[in-house]
């Protein structure tokens, strides 16, 4: 399996190196001359805030992206990794964060894609394929995934495991894992780390990213810290406070604004027994002036909760009260009319209309208020938009420029401003700091606290437990579609949230 001209380049050449790698996406510098290296027999963690460039680095090493500048070296030799196949040829295999399973194919077809067992006339032998898949899964201690099931019907955690298995069976020399644990429970994480340790013993090189400090210190030999597309150093030993200070560029206390005091306030939004696809019997109360955090493993119904509260996902049971009044929300229009706003995780595909102007994006939700007889008043539109640009300090060359010319943080502000224009009091913020640079992240935190000071309520989901712990008055931890734990008070820590999230009823592995 292994290949490469390693013999000529000396015994101590690292297994994999990235040298001064840069990559930009439409004006946003995702990676700015970042370097790092990892050796055989090493488990190497890449850490940093969301948007620090870790995923981009992994995609470059894995052959999914080509760098604008810089060099990748394997065992001391310069290589061009033009495609995932090329990476595989060098023994480099990746578990990407966006899973690459094919949804309407079976687990077996996915596990063995392009290596299917052949029978007569070189045709694929499906029966043997299922048996082989069975053997592979059982050999790794997985008994709760049926190789004949469609990937579409698996849970996110199951898919993650299939994705990992698929790569592990390739016997990689260098294994890259991008956030492999974001959807995994306690036992599955243990299982994965067992595999990783086995590989380390086999003198392989393992590189992974994670947000969970406990996991990182548990398994990693060395840690490289990233901020804003560059690396800040590699450490064998570093404590969490120092790491966070490096990742954010500030003292932790200064990075997260102080929580505004929460007076005995009236409830803005009450949810009782909400049930729908992905959500079951979920209840919560959001009060005026409150930041209510929502955490948990990926794939446990957060997105469904936020979208159903916004009328964009079906509800089959339960009730929703806004300002104490029972309401029916069957479309985003209904929700907006009730003062509810949703800022989705993917602002580029679900939030903004990228090619359209900043002004258009700002006023999209309030067009009826800016028009008479269906004709838009350009004056009123311009006034409303200018107001918001100055209020939220949105950095834009002009109102008529396409919103895609703005930086990620300013795009996020445009989206928030749209909802302030619509006079929304209940803000559903879904992983809004994903892919945003550290400085803007800080600005968004400030904005959130100033919004709740004005008496609004914020329901805030984040994949980053640290962020939830520091910003929220309370944190609800979701598991399998309902609230499994409620954490309260200023003493919440990221560990509390993670440990409440990973406790699991059923385990997928032995």
């Amino acid at each position: 399996m292994s290949a490469g001209p390693s013999a000529t380049s000396g015994p101590i050449a690292p297994a994999i190196e990235g040298i001064k790698l840069s990559k930009a996406f439409g004006g946003v510098q995702a990676l700015a001359g970042a370097s790092f290296s990892a050796s055989r027999g090493e488990v190497h963690a890449l850490v940093g805030e969301n948007g620090a460039g870790k995923s981009t680095l992994i995609k470059i090493l894995g052959g999914r992206l080509r760098p604008d500048a810089g060099q990748v070296r394997l065992a001391g030799a310069n290589v061009q990794i033009a495609s995932p196949d090329a990476a595989h040829g060098h023994g480099v295999w990746t578990v990407f964060q966006e899973l690459t399973l094919l949804p309407w194919m079976t687990v077996a077809e996915n596990l063995l894609i392009r290596r299917e067992p052949r029978g007569t006339l070189r045709l694929i032998d499906r029966a043997r394929m299922a048996e082989q898949a069975d053997a592979v899964l059982a050999g790794l201690g997985i008994h709760h995934i049926d190789p004949r099931a469609l990937v579409e019907d698996l849970s996110l955690a199951q898919r993650q495991i299939v994705e990992i298995v698929r790569v592990i069976v390739q016997d990689p020399d260098v294994l890259l894992l991008d956030e492999p644990t974001s959807s995994l429970g306690e036992n599955e994480v243990k299982w994965l780390f067992g595999l990783i340790r086995d590989l380390r013993r086999g003198n392989k090189c393992i590189i992974f990213t994670s947000h969970r400090w406990n996991e990182i210190t548990d398994v990693a030999d060395r840690i490289t810290i990233f901020r804003n597309g560059g690396e800040l150093g590699t450490f064998a030993e570093i404590d969490e406070t120092r790491a966070v200070t490096l990742m954010t560029g500030q003292q932790v206390d200064a990075f997260y604004p102080e929580r505004p005091p929460l007076e005995a306030a009236r409830p803005l939004l009450q949810v009782r027994g909400l049930t729908g696809p992905g959500v079951s019997e979920l209840s919560l109360t959001l009060r005026a002036g409150e930041i209510l955090g929502v955490g948990g493993l990926a794939g446990h119904g957060h997105r469904e909760l936020f979208f159903s509260l916004f009328g964009a996902a079906p509800i089959s049971g339960g009730e929703i009260l806004v300002n104490g009044r029972r309401v029916r929300i069957s479309s985003p229009r209904d929700a907006i009319g009730l003062g509810i706003a949703l800022v989705p995780e993917d602002r580029k595909t679900e939030g903004l209309i990228l090619p359209m102007s900043v002004g258009t994006n700002l006023t999209l939700a309030i067009l009826p208020q800016l028009s008479a007889l269906g004709i838009i008043s350009r004056n009123r539109e311009g006034r409303a938009a200018r107001n918001m640009v100055s209020k939220l300090k949105i950095r834009t060359p002009g109102l008529r420029n396409p919103v895609q010319q703005l930086s990620g943080g300013n795009q996020q502000k445009v989206l928030l401003a749209r909802w302030l224009l619509a006079d929304s009091h209940i803000l559903l913020l879904y992983d809004v700091t994903r892919g945003v640079d550290v400085a803007t992240k800080h600005e968004i935190y400030e904005l959130m606290t100033s919004l709740v000071r004005e008496g609004r309520g914020v329901l805030f989901y984040s994949s980053d437990a640290e962020e939830l712990a520091h910003l929220s008055h309370r944190v609800l931890v979701m598991r399998e579609g309902h609230v499994a734990a409620e954490l309260e008070g200023p003493g919440i820590t990221a560990e509390d949230i993670v440990s409440a999230a990973v406790r699991e009823a059923t385990s997928l592995v032995d």
Binding site: F310, T349, I353, S371
Partner: protein, 329 residues
């Protein structure tokens, strides 16, 4: 410097600069085609010849108005040929060539077109079926209904002429302009106004660029979709009325060329086929360019089947040209 800012301001006022440039290019292309026609066939660019070509272009342009609306949201309307054809036959059979019944006939014909489009829109918007499949099926439905109900154009009333008022309205002239052209200019003004200055137009562009984000911004995407397809049916029916007024009688297959022509006009006019960008002003230029081009080729004795090939080749070339441009962004 001052001139440049004024130009920039002017550009800003109109909208996306590159799209405006593209429309200007299409108009230049139309002029070039007329010039080329004059060279290969002297007299081609005479006023009366230009007026005749523009009149033919107006029919294409009207069908293409509806096609523009649906393409702007990334859709397509393949039901144009037989909605148009059904409208033409419905007009003559319901009016029986009598002026007294003309208003009634025109109204029910337009309503029929809008209803066919409405059904398209409802199935596309509410059931999530691809527009190609729905509108292709609708084309078959209208074809079958037209053939069946008219007994293959053998019915007594099928041979009726369009009411004289309708014929006069198409053939007449106002201040020296053919009325068909004047009608087109009015439609151009209204459609441009709707696209550029109204909430309906704004929503159309928003949906075309990103339907999901538009929905999450509170836009009623389904309602807009239904209305846009209804408009497409309406314009196809309107063109059917004008064509039967122009030619006097209806015939089977008279709508067939208008599918390719309307799509070619939209594509030539720089409307982005995945939606969200472009303007009816471009489509109008596309219609003129296309009709002028075909006229030049016919003047050069191009055989009939050549027209089919030209439509296809023109669509492909422009898709390749504009497609490339999209990819670079």
């Amino acid at each position: 410097m001052a001139g440049k800012t004024a130009l920039a301001q002017f550009r800003d006022r109109i909208g996306l600069t590159r799209d405006v440039r593209r429309i200007v290019y299409v108009y230049l292309a139309a002029v070039l085609v007329f010039a080329a026609g004059e060279i290969v066939h002297p007299g081609f660019a005479r006023l009366d010849s230009i007026a005749a070509i523009l009149t033919v272009a107006s029919f294409v342009g009207l069908v293409a108005a509806g096609q523009t609306f649906v393409v702007l949201i990334g859709g397509i309307d393949l039901s144009v040929p037989w909605v148009l054809n059904a409208a033409a036959i419905l007009l003559v059979t319901s009016s029986l060539g009598e002026d007294g019944r003309a208003v009634y006939a025109v109204l029910i014909t337009l309503a029929m077109g809008a209803a066919a489009g409405l059904v398209n829109g409802v199935i596309i918007a509410y059931l999530g079926v691809p527009a190609v499949v729905v509108t292709l099926a609708m084309n078959g439905i209208m074809e079958g209904l037209t053939l069946g109900l008219s007994g293959g154009m053998t019915c007594d009333s099928c041979a009726s002429y369009a009411p004289p008022v309708v014929q006069d309205a198409v053939h007449g002239s106002l201040f020296g302009f053919p009325t068909a052209l004047i009608l087109w200019i009015v439609v151009i003004a209204i459609v441009s106004f709707v696209l550029s200055l109204t909430t309906f137009g704004r929503k159309t562009y928003a949906i075309g660029n990103n339907a999901k984000a538009s929905y999450l911004a509170g836009i009623n995407v389904r309602l807009s979709t239904v209305l846009l397809y209804a408009l497409s049916g309406f314009f196809a029916a309107l063109t059917g009325i004008l064509l039967v007024g122009f030619g006097g009688q209806a015939s089977l297959g008279m709508g067939d060329p208008y599918l390719f022509q309307s799509i070619a006009a939209v594509v030539i006019g720089g409307v982005y086929v995945l939606g969200g960008r472009g303007h009816y002003l471009g489509t109008t230029a596309g219609a003129v360019t296309l009709v002028a081009l075909v006229s030049v080729l016919l003047a050069m004795n191009m055989p009939d089947y050549g027209r089919n090939i030209i439509y296809g080749v023109v669509i492909l070339i422009l898709l390749l040209l504009y497609g490339r441009e999209e990819k670079q962004e």
